[in-house]
Chain length 350, copies 2
Amino acid sequence: MTRDIVISIDAMGGDSGPAAVVGGMVMSASKNDEIRYIVHGDEAELRPLIEKHSALNDIVEIRHCSDVISMTEKPSRAMRSGKDSSMWGTLKTVEMGDATVAVSCGNTGALMAISMLRLRRAPGVDRPAIAVLWPSRSAAGHSVVLDVGADIRAEARDLVQYAIMGVEYARQGLDLTTPRVGLLNVGTEEHKGRVALHEASELLEALAAEPDSGMNFIGFVEGSDIGSANVDVIVTDGFTGNVALKTAEGTATLIRGFLRDAMEHTVFSRIGALFALTSLRRLQKRLDPRRRNGGVFLGLNGAVVKSHGGADATGVSAAIKLAFRLAKNGFTQKVAERVAKAAKPEGHPE
Amino acid sequence: MTRDIVISIDAMGGDSGPAAVVGGMVMSASKNDEIRYIVHGDEAELRPLIEKHSALNDIVEIRHCSDVISMTEKPSRAMRSGKDSSMWGTLKTVEMGDATVAVSCGNTGALMAISMLRLRRAPGVDRPAIAVLWPSRSAAGHSVVLDVGADIRAEARDLVQYAIMGVEYARQGLDLTTPRVGLLNVGTEEHKGRVALHEASELLEALAAEPDSGMNFIGFVEGSDIGSANVDVIVTDGFTGNVALKTAEGTATLIRGFLRDAMEHTVFSRIGALFALTSLRRLQKRLDPRRRNGGVFLGLNGAVVKSHGGADATGVSAAIKLAFRLAKNGFTQKVAERVAKAAKPEGHPE
């Protein structure tokens, strides 16, 4: 078996340190015989961690980087003085074509800044975006939400590109042929919302009407639709998307807390909780942010998977799995083709 | 006992019709002997509903209105042609001083438009806001979030006024002396977010530093802080606030669905669910949108409580209870004083 999908990994940056990253690499490598890794970080620290695991024998190349970008580093500073960092090395390896996709648990802002610098925007893309998989009641089990924080602004044109990129991601990540796309707004009535949203809505309607668009544009959706069965790709600006994502995380935490209180309230409910334990564990697993880990940077010349800063081995392994799928399916090229194709009708008498 | 707190009620507009509204009036009147009502709607329909309940004897005045504003009516149209509607009548009764506070389950956009027209903005307020109580892990059990949809834009000056009004609401509604105020942003690092947020942050820091400000400004917060114990008043523009509110509602619905699935999965978990039933019911009650019902319109010459369109008697009663508290405590006057006081230092060498 040839291991011909190469993933470039930043072993440092995360909150849990290189041991969690190596743990994730082991988990993925033992389930997948097509993966190879190029891993970046302090070689003296990494080599013993890696050599402990026979699953990683001969499938890891270590590239030494002397520096680490901290979680609190400002993106602008990371871009100026991060050249010896593991994050920089990870992206340079993709830039040079040695790997197809990058994985990092590090500082999101710095990762986006260095990704833009090293990989550059894909032709025709003004604003790259960060997309996440959001648990939902739809058949696929998840929807795609973007942008969740690459850029706090988005013009109509950017929202249209987010839709195109998000659709391709949903096609690859959720196995959907014609994903349903919704624009996040404050109401589904036409008179509500911002001007850029109305422009984007008109553009998307025209785009979806083209033959072979591969997109089903359903118009405006609201925050309550994000986890519903109504929509597969939710498009918004990075400010709103980031607030929505974190609000949902906060709500899940709040409810888990309320549930814990409720369960501990009486002897009966404690007995009940004991019986219900396996079911509650199944629920926990479904809501577990480690398992739906891996935001993806879209719109660059190369895919970048941003794992949660606090990810453990399970979380890192989920991010690697996602990176593998994207590399295997030629995701970056397919997005570039879609964006180029959509750009063509500009100047059309629409 | 004199019943000297008069509440002006729109009996029509909501999804559940006048029976739910009258039901809520009965629930509140039987628990509270200081309330009187002036109720607006179709007299032929209302009189028999009201006369059935002895709790409402002699404490209700009916003002006949021949028209109803539908849930889908555009605000602009409601303003032009809604003069004979129950909503219009409800606000006119407050405008004329016959009641202190208005309650309606009707169309939010129309209610805000007519409220602005009849009650007008309080002196010095540019943009009124809609505030909601959000369940949280703090000691008070709720936080105040505003604006959740009165206006999709907000300048720095508006955000500062939202903070002032939200603090007064938290003082009255949550019994807090010095509420903690946070500005909703995409990160707590200073280099992140929009310009208006940074301006507002500086203004609020100066305001909170004044003696007797009654406000503890804690800086930027994120979506995940909204339901946490970290903050009492969360300030944002109406677009972001509306998306956050609906995303949280959607997440709660999603989790309830997952929980139901998990509980029904095995015989053991079904037995568990049976034992845990009372606790789950307690949880349900805590999350019940009917019980935390009642958004409040702030920044007008008179308080307006917007009850959920689908509210049943319990929901309407919760909205009436909130309206009563605001009327009893002279809420509108106190907000006006705070806004005027905060406006004074303008032109200060800050």
